[in-house]
Assembly symmetry: C2
Amino acid sequence: MIKAIGYAAKHSFSRLKPFEFERADAAADEVEIEVLFCGVCHSDIHQVKNEWSNTVYPCVPGHEVVGRVTRIGASVTSHAIGDLVGVGCMIDSCRHCSPCQTGKENYCEGPNSWLATYNGPMVPAAKAPDGHNHYGRDNTFGGFSSVLVVKQDFVLRIPDGLSPEAAAPILCAGVTTYSPLKHWGVTSGDKVGVIGMGGLGHMAVKLALAMGAEVTVFTSTKEKLQEALELGATGVIETDANALKPLQNSFDFILSTIPQKHDLNPFIPLLKRDRTLCVVGALEPMAGLDNQQLAFHRKSVAGSLIGSIADTQEVLDFCAAHTIAPDIEVIRIQDINDAFRKVENAEVRFRYVIDMSSLKLEEAA
Amino acid sequence: MIKAIGYAAKHSFSRLKPFEFERADAAADEVEIEVLFCGVCHSDIHQVKNEWSNTVYPCVPGHEVVGRVTRIGASVTSHAIGDLVGVGCMIDSCRHCSPCQTGKENYCEGPNSWLATYNGPMVPAAKAPDGHNHYGRDNTFGGFSSVLVVKQDFVLRIPDGLSPEAAAPILCAGVTTYSPLKHWGVTSGDKVGVIGMGGLGHMAVKLALAMGAEVTVFTSTKEKLQEALELGATGVIETDANALKPLQNSFDFILSTIPQKHDLNPFIPLLKRDRTLCVVGALEPMAGLDNQQLAFHRKSVAGSLIGSIADTQEVLDFCAAHTIAPDIEVIRIQDINDAFRKVENAEVRFRYVIDMSSLKLEEAA
């Protein structure tokens, strides 16, 4: 067993506090990783606070992990000791269903769906069709910790040209926005709308611009108009009807990155005929849609969930090739509770990344 | 001018009553049609009652019209006197926009959109971008009348093998369900769900079966379980969680035909990954969607509006070729108010069609 230390919540209204635990040693097909940096995602907060009513405690969040390989199992061929690697939202999947067999692990249809980096199998044993836990674990502990042990197939290569701290948010915010931009075929010359400009939204802007699209950000925060401009996009206040009107029927794709329930109806008219608005931010019930707006030009509203392992490697390589990276603020793990509050208040520009070397303070204590 | 007689509503809470009016003589590119039969669509009721807040009175509904050509303009080449013809929801469109130029008149993006058979144009002058009325008409009178005059390009051929009364509902209920089944690529062996089995729903069942699909009807009406079986489909009570559970992730396409606000959330889990639920029945605000259900298997909810003129001819020919037709009850125009009530109470099986020869009673009066 490996002694590990991390930051955990003990219940839905607790702050994150130091937490000691053990991890199993790396099996033959597994990689042991010393965690160097871990991004802070809004879903860490949703999970810690049990806002999806499925949190298993203690909860050690963190699924934007960059680290150094410190040990490999006997059959590991794709990673070597000393490699800079990444781990995103998934650390395993059923491997047998049709999505898994075709490289779409994020849409795994196995009895427990994919195994999340923290908070365990996506479908717990109690809710699985066969009542069993395919992975043998009811809870998993994420990247707000000193060490991870992960199946080699779910470990990503961090390409040269990406700093380890900037690479971290690409593992969730990056792939969550890249995957739908790719799936719905965004290409050079397209007009892309991004609703909300936080961790996900600002990555969507950078990625869509790098794909050659013209990008418009819809935001409720006045200061973000200028920030959108600085990223190379146009900013529009989402409640400004006069600004929205001339944009009707002009967008090839719109991505909503707002992390809670919101009204999509103002944005549907902006889509061209036969085009899609995809929601990646809010994994919860949304406000009702006016089907008149959808039907009159055969428009769609869709959801999308992170991305596959292949998509994740692709977006890491894409960011390195296009020299783009998230805008981050590096913090210490001791500041995590304050950071959570600022993420909820949209005060971060645009992603906190924890320098996990700060954990050493706890180990010394 | 042509003397015409029809049935009209004078205001939003009036019954339909006899109404005399005049139509302009057929222009060079127009066809004069003696109306023989006209279907009764739920949208006739929505419009008469001003449930979409856009009704112009007097309102003569009716957009499932079958009749006989009685006169043609000098340049008409596609129809001849004596032909059995049909008119659906549209009688003209802008002809210049990209959808019109590519044969998608139902998605016309011209300043007044398409010209509706009644209550036209779709976008009144006051709401048009240029403030003008492209068609020069603030109201049009539909098929609950003795005669129609229509541009030849918007007049359909009724193929041999379809009775005129059975052909009528194909012009709206038929094409409204055919167009999305075709657009989303329903093909032999697919599993198709149909929510609601009224005028639209029962046509969706017949069309999808003729395309080779396996069809399941979701209904709240117990008697319709047997009726679904008689059409060749399986019937499921839409609130029966035990019946829905084994159907999860199994449908290639689901079409909702319920003509008012309803909750789609119970049906999203039934779709396979990357598939679409399309709403054609309700042109109004819907209940909120849970994006968790959409995102977890990248599913979409879309709208679709009737179909193009080419789609309409195609579905008429498809019905003739597959010897399918709507199940209808033929009524007299004098019974229309009673019929409206029964449509609202879902008592019709499955479409009322008015025998317009009954109008002669009014002419004699």
